[in-house]
Structures are given as C-alpha cells and as structure tokens.
C-alpha cells in the first residue's frame, strides 16, 4: 500500500477533492474513488477509447492519465455532458439513430464527438471518422455513430442559423 495523495480538481464544473495512490489512473479515481462510473474501462491500455474524458481542453483516455495529474485541471466526463435533464444534441442523436447497443463505448464516443463539434461545428464525414478513430465499438458498428454525429452537427447549425 502506498501513501495517498490529496488531489484538488474540478470535475464537471464542481470543485472536487479526492485521495488517491500515486499509481492510480484517473479512470480508477473517477470510477472507484468518486463513483463516477459513467466513464467505462474497456482495455485499460489506451486502445479502445471507452474511458475518454476531457482534461482541460484535451481529449484523453483516462486510463493513461494518473489521478494526480488532475491536480488543478478541469475534467469533463459523460456525467457532465447533459444540462440537468436536458440531453445534449449528441446524446439525443445517438438515441434517435440507434447508435448504441451495449453502451460501454458510448460515453467515450459522446465525449470525443462533443470535443470535435466544439472545435469544428460542421465537420465532414472524413473528419468525423478520423476524429473518432480512437474509439472502438464492438456491437453497433460505426455508420450509425457517424450519422448520429452528422445529425447533431446539422441540428446545432440550425439552432445557430
């Protein structure tokens, strides 16, 4: 057992403090220490993207980030994407396009796709596919997910117009 370190951070807009071992990943801290189990563990070695979260303005696989690296940072997880009970357009379009089945990859896809739309509100299909290449899905397949992101982008364009 190792002495625990105190980490002060901001998660989904809330100032948060937690204790973790220096070797614990941010993924473990979110799930096991803070109970934010929306972020999923797939491969635990950075290949599948199920644990994708935002660390400040970067998209990261939280299994490859240490919990102590969250010190002073802003973390956004799937639990921080909707506004109260109002789903984010991406969450709605994933539902409407049946872009999920088992749902283990879904939080990672939505966090990553939101980062894309925040950065590029009107992406091409190629841009979406390239951006989401770090996220693996083993049941739905990718076309429905790509359509869902396209629909959410189109919706946001309409709202803006």
């Amino acid at each position: 057992m190792h002495a625990k370190v105190r980490v002060q951070t901001t998660i989904n807009g809330d100032q948060t403090e937690f204790l973790c071992e220096p070797r614990q990943s941010l993924l473990e801290c979110l799930r096991d220490v803070l109970g934010l189990t929306g972020t999923k563990e797939g491969c635990n070695d950075g290949n599948c993207g199920a644990c994708t979260v935002m660390l400040d303005d970067r998209v990261v696989t939280s299994c490859l980030v240490l919990g102590v690296e969250a010190e002073g940072a802003r973390i956004t997880t799937i639990e921080g994407i909707s506004k109260g009970n109002e789903l984010h357009p991406l969450q709605r379009s994933f539902l409407e396009n049946a872009a999920l089945q088992c749902g283990i990859c879904t939080p990672g896809f939505i966090v990553a796709a939101k980062a894309l739309l925040d950065h590029e509100p009107n992406p091409t299909e190629d841009q979406i596919r390239l951006w989401l290449a770090n996220n693996l899905c083993r049941c739905t397949g990718y076309d429905k997910i790509i359509h869902a992101v396209q629909q959410a982008a189109a919706h946001s364009q309409e709202v803006r117009a």
Partner: protein, 168 residues
C-alpha cells in the same frame, strides 16, 4: 407481403435503456462496489507446455492486503466421472485442470495460481511474488504437429493427442 400495421414491429422505438446509456447513468456489473469487495489476479504460464516443478506462494500470502492465494493443490481430489459443463461431456479432472494447472501447464496462458486481494494493484503485485519453477517441455503449436507421430503428448493417457475420431 403483409400490409398489416403493428404497434411495435416495423416502428423505430427509442431503446428503453438508451437515455441511461448516453448519460452514463446506466449501471453495469463492474459499476457496483460492495463492502469487503475483493479483486482477483490470475498468474498464467508463459510456456506452451511445461512441467510445474514447484510453486512457492509464501511471499504473496504475506503481502499486505492479500486475502487468499490458490493453486491446483488447494482443490479437493476429483472423482473420475464425466460432467456436462455446457459443451458436451468432459472428464471432471480435465475441467478441473483447466481452472488451475496441476502438474503441467498445457498452453501459454494456462492459469497456474490466483490471488484475491483488497484491490487490483495489490492482487497483481502479489501475483508477481509467486515463484513458479517450470521444466519447459517440447510443444506442438498447430493441429498437424500435434497429431504427427512422435508429437509431445499433453496427456499421457491420450495417444497422439487425439480427443476423438468423428465421421459422419
């Protein structure tokens, strides 16, 4: 083709668990924590075929946070009988040997010992303290090699590594 309209068939309903899944609220087995929950780690054979000459689990057992260390020696004797574990009849001794290797490791990745501990890191660290002495044996790693004359035998009582002959 039927033109009948149905209330569900032919419609595109939103899946009933969808909202929970897109918000991260859905609870899966791995999302539960209970008081006293233990985590396991399995130590596996690095060799495709090897005699297990000695396993020393004493350092792992003493490691802080470890609750149990198991090897095949902890299993009770297995009666010689056939059991159906869902994939047809299997000798119980073979089924037991596939849970934890006793005597020999029969493939690379064959489970040799298992640790239960207070967290996954402790379990993994303790598994690394288990000492296994192997005598590496020749291995057959494809079907043709396994049934060729003189191939290394996995089980002494199974000539030519042939489980059965089947013709239909």
């Amino acid at each position: 083709m039927s033109t009948q309209q149905y209330t569900i068939v032919g419609t595109r309903p939103i899946r009933h668990d969808g909202a929970d899944k897109v918000t991260g609220r859905a609870q899966y087995g791995a999302d539960f924590q209970m008081a006293g929950l233990l985590f396991g780690h399995v130590l596996r054979s690095p060799h495709a075929h090897a005699r297990i000459k000695r396993i020393d689990t004493s350092k792992a057992e003493k490691f802080p946070g470890v609750k149990a260390v198991l090897t095949a020696a902890d299993f009770p004797p297995t009666p010689e009988r056939m059991v159906d574990l869902g994939e047809g009849d299997t000798p119980l001794s073979y089924a037991r040997g596939n849970v934890l290797a006793g005597g020999k490791a029969l493939y690379r990745g064959h489970a040799v010992a298992a640790v239960a501990a207070v967290n996954a890191h402790v379990a993994e660290e303790a598994a690394g303290l288990i000492e296994v002495e192997y005598e590496v044996l020749p291995a057959a790693v494809d079907l043709a090699a396994a049934i060729s004359p003189g191939a290394p035998l996995l089980y002494d009582d199974v000539p030519n590594n042939l489980c059965c002959n089947w013709s239909g």
